[in-house]
């Protein structure tokens, strides 16, 4: 009997599209997924022809309206009965939402993904585990360091492994129009009208191909204005297409140029070449187009990514990189099928203020390969280290590239000379303090020792606080493992016989790789021992 799996996805269309790899994975393992979606997304899902059954949440009525409680409860009860009668063998809850979690727990079948809320206003946090814990941790406070794609996290909800890598492109029509998406839900994550106008003029001048403007109803007026100013080769469809029509449009496009929107993910799902523009707090590592070969552009500004949505930024200058001309060249090159590396090399002079990334589907998840070199920073290296740690911890069977391969992929071109000291690429100054990695290594070792010892709660909390204070670079690790996971396996006999060994193995690798990073920057074998470390030795 087929494994009937309910997948509860309560977010928007873009997230639904990013659930695609998970659905493919379920199919690949012989399962039969059914999506439970919010009413506003159901029609779109059906139009997209997603490879799964679709059920819609009922409306439940406006709670503030004077509808009879008995009608609403009866309606809710009918829905619960209906869902129980579907006889799902299991449920996967993708979102940290009370509604999906509540329903999943009522069906009486195993629940993976989110099976409870991490926090409510009124209560104290209830620890999470596995990929849900990392998803919450990465969205709260360590977002800038996150290098794991949302689609990969969701695939993790289903268990180890990823869908096989898919070839680049294969969709779209190289002779089709260039589709420029005017913007998504956030005003801070889109090009300004002036920038869009310049872009359209540049595309016409450099590429000469037909451009179709796409967007939601809120972009209709803007689209009309831009089309009116740009000449006959620009057509506006913003606010005028149904989802079905949008699917048809994108599937016939040669290139899609878009901020982080559902249309970008649609392009990825259809295998259409795309260029994603990521501003403010949007990150291609997290929500880039999930397709081999998809391009993403981000600024090199220090303030990127924003800690907020960008609302408090006076300049929004991250939207200025790259300039319209460069973007038009990228679009033109992609449309012609020019290899990404060659494109980056050709445009290197004009890509100094931004980074050009190309997506690589690997067995350990989607990686963003930097096509433009970047200065090594401790944050950049830490992000790589954290990704590798998390994959080892949560999906130990996933083959990882080597550490140096992954550093290289990230564009931090750090080579070492015969004495093991770092040599930096042309134009790079190598301002990383190698001791920072020595301390990271020490901090990791101390933390692993603490976990091995299984201390009592009060003592453990005290030691974790000390570690966080004395080794601030450990914060992302502690945030994930202590404050979201709640230090699972903290006590003997508690919870997870498998978790601790896996954590220790992943941690040992992290420690080793931190050491490697330190050596890369000239820290030497022994490094320095901070004086405060003595007080932590007791936990060993």
């Amino acid at each position: 009997m087929a494994d009937k799996v309910l997948v509860i996805q309560e977010a928007r269309l873009g997230d639904l599209l990013q659930s695609g790899p998970l659905l493919e994975k379920i199919h690949g393992q012989g399962g039969c997924p059914t999506l439970l979606l919010r009413p506003g997304v159901v029609e779109a899902a059906r139009s997209l022809g997603m490879n799964s059954g679709i059920i819609s949440w009922p409306g439940f009525g406006d709670p503030s309206a004077a509808l009879s409680l008995s009608c609403r409860i009866a309606g809710s009860r009918d829905f619960v009965r209906k869902m129980r009668s579907e006889n799902f063998s299991r449920v996967i809850v993708l979102n940290h939402h009370g509604t999906g979690i509540a329903l999943a727990n009522m069906l009486g079948v195993p629940v993976s993904g989110f099976d409870h809320l991490f926090d409510r206003e009124s209560g104290s946090p209830a620890p999470l585990g596995g990929w849900p814990a990392y998803l919450v941790a990465s969205s709260r406070g360590i977002r800038a360091l996150n290098r794991i794609h949302l689609s990969d996290m969701w695939q993790g909800f289903e268990g180890p492994g990823r869908i096989p890598s898919r070839p680049a492109g294969g969709g779209g029509d190289s002779l089709g129009p260039v589709v420029v998406v005017l913007g998504g839900r956030s005003p801070y994550r889109r090009l300004s009208p002036e920038a869009l106008h310049r872009l359209l003029l540049a595309i016409e001048r450099i590429d000469g191909h037909h451009v179709i403007l796409s967007g939601g109803p809120e972009d209709g007026e803007l689209g009309e204005a831009l089309a009116g100013r740009s000449g006959p080769k620009v057509t506006n469809t913003a606010g005028r297409t149904t989802v079905q029509e949008l699917v048809a449009l994108i599937s016939q496009a040669s290139v899609v140029l878009s901020p982080d929107t559902a249309t970008l993910h649609l392009a990825a799902s259809l295998g259409v070449p795309s260029v994603g523009l990521f501003f403010a707090s949007a990150l291609p590592y997290e929500t880039g187009a999930y397709r081999e070969g998809a391009l993403s552009v981000v600024t090199r500004q220090d303030c990127y990514p924003c800690s907020g949505e960008g609302a408090s930024c006076p300049s929004l200058s991250c939207r200025n990189d790259p300039d319209a001309e460069t973007l038009a060249h990228i679009v033109a090159g992609l449309r012609r099928g020019e290899p990404a590396r060659s494109l980056a090399a050709r445009l290197s002079e004009s890509l100094t203020a931004c980074q050009l990334l190309v997506a690589r589907e690997t067995p350990s998840g989607l990686l963003q390969e930097a096509l433009t070199p970047t200065l090594p920073t401790k944050e950049g290296i830490l992000a790589v280290l954290m990704r590798r740690f998390v994959v080892r911890y949560l999906d130990p069977t996933a083959p990882l590239p080597t550490f140096s391969e992954e550093i290289s992929l990230s564009g931090m071109n750090v080579a070492s000379d015969s004495k093991g000291k770092a040599r930096f690429g042309k134009g790079q100054s190598g301002g990383v303090d190698p001791l920072w990695f020595v301390r990271l290594e020490r901090g990791v070792d101390l933390y692993l020792g603490l976990r091995e010892r299984c201390l009592q709660k009060v003592e453990r909390e005290r030691m974790v606080e000390r570690l966080a204070s004395d080794f601030p670079m450990l914060w992302p690790l502690l945030h994930h493992l202590e404050w979201v996971e709640g230090g699972l396996s903290a006590q003997p006999g508690e919870g997870d016989g498998e978790n601790l060994p896996r954590l220790l193995r992943a941690g040992a690798s992290l420690s080793w790789e931190a050491q490697s990073a330190g050596r890369l920057f000239g820290a030497g074998v022994l490094g320095e021992v901070p004086e405060k470390e003595d007080s932590h030795v007791a936990v060993r």
């Binding site: 439940f60 406006d62 709670p63 503030s64 309206a65 004077a66 009879s68 409680l69 008995s70 609403r72 409860i73 009866a74 809710s76 009860r77 829905f79 619960v80 009965r81 939402h97 009370g98 509604t99 979690i101 509540a102 329903l103 009522m106």
Partner: protein, 600 residues
């Protein structure tokens, strides 16, 4: 001696494990962290819930026998059966069943406790005449005319769990039939401030859903306003703006809480403007004016705007109010908060630090500063605020400059030989010969089991019997005489203190006052009007409209005592840890999650 036995459980399960009861009996414990069993001295087990024992820790068997002996005599001959609320482990039930042949229906709100009892007593031996229920809906129609008995400890630890079944059985609607949503508004500071907190506690103990608008949170702000400028006009303007701000907050709170009733205390920020707005929303306001009407005259603007105006003075005043056309007046003296003022010593009690041969606890009002000088040779100690160390009474101050907490005052009352209670006056040099109302301290000292000398008040004798429960003085001379007498007559002292304590706990607690007040309100036609708020609906109408859906109507029926409910109320009435969720309960929880998302 009884002991837990799995074989007993199995036999009970076989006899009673059908339908919904079976589900409750077979699933694992879900409230394990709230209860525990322990062996009594006699050897049989006892059980405690939230730390409170449901049976005697010494001999629960004998306790059950005594209870059964007492209640059997009360059962009318015509009663067709007995409805027992609260099972605990069942000692009292077993004793009862051995003394009567009537059928008994037992309602126990906690399946965990039911299962524990099923492991102890072989209920199956009593056959069909014994039945159990864990859901109020299971009681409906099954106990008509039954004589109602309660296991007091079970009711005490979880009054709300048994309330609706009790009301069902009693079949009459009184104030106590409802679980009202009450918003209590405190003053920023002053004597009424602790009373507001006491009112909230009392209402909650009575099973009402009470919450507090704590204006005390803004005491610092009000002080800060005064410190910004010495220009009176500006201060007045700033305070006016602040008052408007407080009014807005109260209104916001009202929209959030959707109360059935608002209780305001004297000096609370319920200005006439706010009261007008609340009146236009048809929300009743009960205002407790615990002040001297001759000194605090703002009552003239407040009294006409509230539904019920409770006062602590009588003869001079109530006629005056009635002459103004106010018929909403109720005499309601203050009382003791038994959660703080009780005879049992508190944890960490300091019987040495908070005791004296003659104790006075109170602020340094004019009359007290003069009067107490006549008592300094009698072992006097003084606690309280507004006493000057440089004063002749300075040497007798025990904690100069420090405000004494209510819990500390309780220790003083419990541990001192004699407590002196002199009502304050700003223009008499001793006892106010026209003093009428009785202050809270009178009840608080009595509630702590303390012996009290109190000045004569015209309303005192109807609250306590002078000479039997309290000793009363008229002036300095009579006070000195009484102090000397009672310092050397401990037996008399203790007898009077005991009598006063018993009377207070019986008649003069804040719960007593709230019950009287609510009964008064209901007798004058008050009923919960919460259904007018968006999202809240009358339980009666919900039960009626779902009459063809027994599960749904049975679910709503559990909330009869609320009068009206919204989703939040329904959610609070579901305890997933204690019993498997019915489909209706699951539906409510799901709906509630949706409501949370939209912020409703």
């Amino acid at each position: 001696m009884w002991q837990f036995d799995e074989n007993v459980f199995r036999a009970n399960l076989q006899a009673y494990g059908t339908g919904e009861l079976r589900e409750a009996l077979v699933r694992p414990d879900r409230s394990r962290e709230r209860w525990e069993t322990a062996a009594s001295k006699e050897g049989s087990p006892t059980i405690s819930w939230d730390g409170m024992s449901l049976h005697s820790r010494y001999d629960p068997v004998a306790e059950g026998e005594r209870w059964a002996e007492e209640v059997v005599a009360q059962i009318p001959e015509t009663a067709p059966g007995i409805l027992l609320l609260g099972l605990g482990l069942g000692y009292h039930l077993h004793a009862l069943l051995c003394r009567t042949r009537l059928p008994v229906l037992v309602f126990e709100a906690s399946p965990d406790i039911l299962r524990a009892s099923f492991r102890l007593f072989p209920w199956h031996n009593f056959g069909d005449r014994l039945r159990f229920a864990t859901d109020p809906a299971q009681v409906r129609g099954q106990a008509d005319g039954y004589f109602l008995l309660s296991h007091a400890p079970s009711e005490k630890v979880r009054p709300d769990a048994y309330r609706s079944v009790k009301n069902l059985a009693e079949g009459n609607l009184r104030a106590t039939s409802y679980s009202l949503r009450v918003l209590v508004v405190s003053p920023v500071s002053g004597g009424s401030y602790p009373i507001a907190h006491s009112v909230v506690r009392a209402l909650r103990n009575m099973g009402h859903r009470a919450s507090l608008f704590d204006a005390g949170d803004f005491a610092g702000s009000l002080r800060a306003i005064g410190a910004q400028t010495r220009i009176d006009m500006h201060r007045a303007q700033l305070r006016g703006i602040f008052q408007n701000f407080m009014a807005e907050m109260i209104m916001a709170r009202i929209f959030h809480e959707k109360p059935d009733l608002i209780v305001g205390l004297a000096q609370s920020p319920l200005s006439p403007e706010v009261l007008e707005k609340i009146r236009s929303m048809n929300i009743p306001v009960a205002y407790w004016f615990v002040e001297d009407f001759r000194i605090a005259t703002y009552w003239e603007r407040i009294a006409p705007l509230v539904t019920s105006f409770a006062v602590i003075q009588k003869e001079d005043w109530i006629p005056r109010l009635e002459a103004r056309g106010l018929s909403n007046v109720l005499y309601l003296p203050t009382a003791a908060d038994r959660e703080i003022f009780r005879p049992e010593p508190a944890q960490g009690e300091d019987p040495v630090g908070f005791s004296a041969p003659l104790a006075f606890m109170g602020a340094g009002y004019y009359n007290r500063q003069h009067f107490l000088r006549h008592l300094v040779d009698l072992g006097l100690s003084i606690w309280g605020a507004d006493w000057e160390e440089s004063d002749p009474l300075g040497p007798y101050l025990r904690s100069p400059g420090r405000r004494i907490l209510p819990e500390e005052a309780a220790q003083i009352y419990r541990n001192s030989t004699i407590n002196l209670n002199l009502h304050s006056s700003v223009y008499h040099r001793g006892v106010n010969p026209e003093g009428d109302f009785v202050n809270p301290r009178t009840f608080e000292i009595a509630a702590c089991g303390g012996f009290q000398l109190v000045d004569r008040r015209s309303l005192l004798s109807e609250l306590f019997v002078p000479g039997e429960e309290v000793a009363v003085f008229n002036d300095e001379a009579s006070c000195r005489k009484l102090v000397r007498h009672y310092q050397s007559h401990p037996a008399e002292r203790e007898a009077m203190a005991r009598a006063a304590c018993q009377r207070t706990l019986r008649e003069h607690t804040i719960e007593n006052r709230m019950e009287s007040w609510l009964d008064h309100l209901f007798s004058r036609g008050f009923s919960p009007k919460g259904a007018l708020f968006p999202g809240r609906q009358s339980v009666d109408s919900l039960v009626a409209t779902s009459a063809d859906d027994p599960e749904l109507s049975g679910f709503f029926d559990r909330f009869r005592c609320f009068g009206s409910v919204d989703l939040e109320d329904l959610e609070r009435g579901i305890h997933p840890q204690e019993a498997p969720l019915s489909e209706t309960e699951a539906a409510v929880l799901l709906l509630r999650e949706f409501a949370r998302e939209v912020g409703a």
